[in-house]
Symmetry: C2
Subunit: 442 residues, 2 copies
């Protein structure tokens, strides 16, 4: 296959033209009705069918100087760079308005060329979910990272190795065993490892409870034990389960208050707390006042997905990620189309299952990216996808012959990205302008 060459390393990001067509973060923040309208815009059933002049699909055509979405063997992963640029521009403006530093979470894109575009300047702050990401991004010039998963003591040698290369990599802790290990590793290496105390803002995962005296005790142990108390960090993951604007705004405020409260407790005890870090894409998106917060971490906003659309964070036309599949069969009696994109290509993620609009394993669009509306991936086997109409839909199953190429928008961008070796990058059209490798593993 004739794929475009990867871009040169350390290529700089150029801000795109302002693409903000009235759908900035917060949508219309005047009340729940406005949010409801915003969310309704995002949902499938209101999408129109593609125009009749969309033209036929020509699977497998070859011979052009540049590959297109019709050329590569399916399934493969597509990233629309124009949509990503628009998502980045909106979030940057939003962070600027809030007066906080944006520290994008690169766990969504997991790719050096994508990270270069997300960060703009690789010296800008970043968040990572694995040390392999940290090592790959450090190699490409990234010098300011938080590894935002509680540190396993055995991984500290890799943290030290990166720090000795001049990378300001900080770790996250929420218990005495981790603090002891970080202090011991700092003393052994003769260099303090910066650590953030994780605070639990919503009971969904890790972190010390707000008001727990251990916050100050562990902060002091870090500062006095040879490590560096860098600050506090929280992640309001429950924002994925908030379906009204008032719930989202309340959770964003709680996330802020929990983080700033912990910072105040540390400062009141005579400790420093330079960083107050909060985030999740929805809680950042819906935040209106970040007083006391220094930085926000968000990742999935970069590519967006059906979960984000369902939460009203973005519209369907903000989704920059899709999987190209080919129709390989039909079961007309059951109202099914069969494709070659199963759970290996889409992931098993069912993030919309508990949401107001369940999108199955993905929303199906034509090769130009226009959703059919009610055509979903109903079921996935390893290398088969079973497509059919949304339950209750009155629309007929589209006539899509064997060989037709489709684009499937996934529930959860992070989960789908990690199923693929690379992104086929488009810029609005169907030409593949770049190929960006994806860093999988740990």
């Amino acid at each position: 296959m004739n794929q475009a060459a990867p871009p040169p390393m350390r290529q700089m990001w150029h801000p795109p033209e302002d693409p903000d067509h009235g759908k900035g973060p917060g949508c219309n923040p005047s009340g729940e009705d406005a949010y409801g309208a915003c969310a309704a815009r995002a949902f499938g059933p209101t999408i129109e069918l593609p125009a009749a002049d969309a033209g036929p699909v020509h699977p497998g055509q070859e011979g052009d100087a540049m590959s297109t979405l019709a050329d590569l063997d399916t399934p493969f992963l597509v990233l629309d760079r124009d949509r990503m640029d628009a998502n980045l521009a909106r979030m940057r403006r939003h962070a600027e308005r809030l007066g906080v530093t944006l520290r994008p979470h690169l766990k969504t894109v997991k790719s050096v060329p994508a990270a270069q575009r997300v960060l703009g300047d690789m010296a800008n702050p970043a968040t990572v979910s694995t040390l392999q990401e940290a090592e790959a991004f450090a190699e490409a010039g990234c010098t300011d990272m938080i590894y935002a998963v509680g540190i396993a003591p055995a991984k500290l040698p890799r943290v030290i190795a990166l720090r000795k290369r001049g990378v300001d990599l900080a770790v996250v802790v929420d218990n005495a065993a981790q603090v002891d290990a970080v202090c011991a590793a700092s003393r052994d290496a003769g260099t303090p490892i910066p650590a953030l105390l994780e605070i639990d803002s919503d009971g969904h995962r890790s972190g010390l409870r707000p008001g727990d005296p251990q916050i100050v005790a562990l902060g002091r142990a870090l500062a006095e034990g040879g490590a560096e108390l860098r600050g506090v960090l929280t992640h309001a993951g429950e924002s994925y389960g908030c379906f009204t604007l008032s719930e989202q705004e309340a959770l964003a405020a709680k996330e802020r208050d929990v983080a700033t409260g912990a910072a105040e407790a540390l400062r009141a005890a005579g400790l420093t707390c330079p960083v107050v870090s909060v985030g999740s894409t929805p809680s950042v998106h819906f935040a209106t006042d970040m007083t006391g917060v220094t930085e926000v971490r968000a990742g999935v906003f970069t590519l967006s997905d059906l979960v984000m659309a369902g939460l009203g964070v973005g519209g369907l036309d903000d989704m920059a990620l899709s999987v190209v599949a080919t129709v390989i069969g039909h079961q007309p009696d059951r109202g099914w189309l069969i494709t070659d994109a199963g759970f290996m290509a889409l992931s098993r993620d069912r993030g919309t299952a508990q949401m107001p609009v369940d999108q199955g394993f993905g929303l199906v669009a034509d090769l130009d990216g226009r959703p059919f509306g009610d055509l979903l991936v109903l079921k996935t086997n390893q290398e088969h996808g079973i497509l059919g109409m949304r339950e209750g839909s009155a629309a007929p199953l589209p006539e899509l012959p064997v060989g037709t190429r489709l684009r499937i928008y996934p529930n959860h961008a992070c989960a789908t990205v990690a199923m693929h070796p690379s992104f086929a990058v488009i810029a609005g059209g169907d030409e593949i302008v770049e190929t960006w490798p994806i860093e999988r593993g740990w």
Copy 2:
């Protein structure tokens, strides 16, 4: 990290000592009660806690000549070669008793060194789920494969390329568009592409209905259009939803009857049908009479998993696949342990969700592979696993300090394998004796 070197290519498989300790396929085929007892043996709640003399876990220890499960950074994937060998030996004996050829489905292991062990001689028949698998296994000497996903016409050039290298790769079709494309590609290449007609034995995915006159029409079109009618193929995927021995045996018989019925229809029309191919691990495992069938395809039996254990196909001690994770925190108020193995390491697969015993996202064991019994992965985020006791369990949460390494048995081996770059291979003990790369992508 000091990993063992990959094994030499084309290494031959040596059958292990007979490990069949009274749990061969079919379990005790004397009735549902016997099956119930068999299944009960497999379920978590009856598992005993590890012996008190299990000894402490030493995370991160280094300096041995050979790496152990305590050395590599977590999460990573472990394959117990001894257990796999035992699974292979049992299935080979079962196929021999049934008088059918075993054509293992390599979609589970997706790895050249693993395939060499599964096939024994690489000239033996194999099944693949992607053309990338076919190309990798062909490179390692595999010459007899079925690509068991309905062919997308645009992929035929890669099929032709493999066939021109001497690989007998067959494709699968169930509609006229595919047949036309296969015939046209055969004529263009001047060599007939062998195709199997997919027959639908249980309504769960692809295939022509039993008795459909299209079976003969498409068979004739292949034979007369320049391709080769190799035979018929069916896959009773509904075997994953059969929870009694009588249901499983009935489905296995139906799968056989549907395939042999289609073969008879072709032969009655004067066409040849040399191959009658059936399979899914459960339907092969529970089959007692394969008269008229020439070969069985099964994949997940090689590694086994919690779904297979739940179906009574194997016991928990037949599971050859696990993920090593490290405890990174605790939430004692909620009865949770937090580890560094989230859905990136385990996959999002919830294959046991609809089964009699729901195993969450995985069953947790100590580093020696002995399940704690009721300790499950309750929830997964991208790089976090949340562990807790099975609902209704009276057992206390085990005391597992930060840094403790655990092994997690996954629901679905195929889904978990594809999340990882390689297997750390053990042979019963904790030494990593080989590292086997995994072929991901398409």
